[in-house]
């Protein structure tokens, strides 16, 4: 299980879609033109989106541990 995941601050997100273009796993979509939505099961926490985001609205966060 990967330890980190991208987390979007939807209040700051401007829905420009740069993150979605950068994501190598297509884990990001722009929800109805309002904000970036991350599919957490696909996200591997690589941080490419975080570094591309012009609004600094994406942060990598530790995943909560899942018992499996």
């Amino acid at each position: 299980m990967v330890k980190r995941k991208a987390n979007v601050n939807i209040e700051r997100c401007v829905a420009c879609g740069v993150c979605a273009l950068q994501c190598p796993r297509q884990a990001i979509s722009i929800h109805r033109g309002c904000y970036a939505a991350i599919e957490e099961s696909i996200c591997v926490g690589c941080g490419l989106c975080e570094r591309a985001c012009p609004a600094s609205a994406i942060e990598l966060k530790e995943r909560e541990l899942v018992n499996d």
């Binding site: 420009c16 879609g17 740069v18 273009l21 109805r32 033109g33 309002c34 591309a52 609004a55 600094s56």
Partner: protein, 196 residues
């Protein structure tokens, strides 16, 4: 790294360059910039999305190419206020006011109260002579006046975008782009209506 699939619309950055080149030689081509105003609004109003910004914006693509691929960006996080709501809506208001002023100038030429000025105004302040880009045409003078005004607006906003691209991240312009703010606003209103 795996290469992402490229679409025809991934090359619209070329359009941005073509647009400014055409307007350099003939200002009437400036009218074509209206496409970049109308298309995002159609996507937002009819589709409730920012597909234009997300996939088609030639200016955004150009900033990405120059900033990331050519390496002209410091890639530093921009100050928070630059993408804050008050600044975004404030800039939109300012931009629309200047757009209105430009329309009024066009109207004055149309009404004969003012004559055609073959000049570009940069940053709403600095007047650059641009008289080579227009001689005579079958169109009335106000058509050319709008061209000069609209080209000024497009060039100014692109220059602002380039400055913030160099200083901060590649597509920092997108955070306060008036079209982006407007279309996101429309999408948010539509989403609220849909979830009710």
């Amino acid at each position: 790294m795996t290469k992402k699939k490229k679409h025809w619309y991934s090359y619209l950055w070329i359009w941005s360059i073509v647009y400014f080149s055409l307007g350099f030689f003939n200002i009437l081509f400036a009218w074509l910039g209206l496409i970049d105003f109308i298309l995002p609004l159609i996507f937002a109003i009819a589709g409730g999305n920012k597909w234009f910004c997300n996939n088609m914006c030639g200016r955004g693509q150009l900033f990405w190419i120059l900033g990331r691929n050519v390496g002209c960006s410091r890639k530093k996080p921009a100050p928070k206020w630059l993408s804050s709501k008050w600044f975004r809506y404030g800039f939109l208001t300012f931009f629309m006011t200047m757009f209105g002023t430009m329309i009024f100038q066009t109207y004055q030429v149309f009404a004969g109260a003012d004559s055609l000025r073959k000049a570009i105004k940069l940053f709403w302040t600095f007047r650059l002579p641009w008289n080579w880009a227009y001689s005579a045409s079958p169109f009335p003078d106000w058509v050319a006046q709008f061209g000069f005004g609209f080209y000024s607006l497009m060039l100014t906003s692109t220059l602002i975008g380039l400055i913030v691209m160099v200083l901060y991240r590649e597509r920092t312009w997108c955070t306060f782009c008036p079209m982006g703010t407007m279309t996101q606003g429309i999408c948010k209103i539509k989403e609220k209506g849909a979830s009710k």
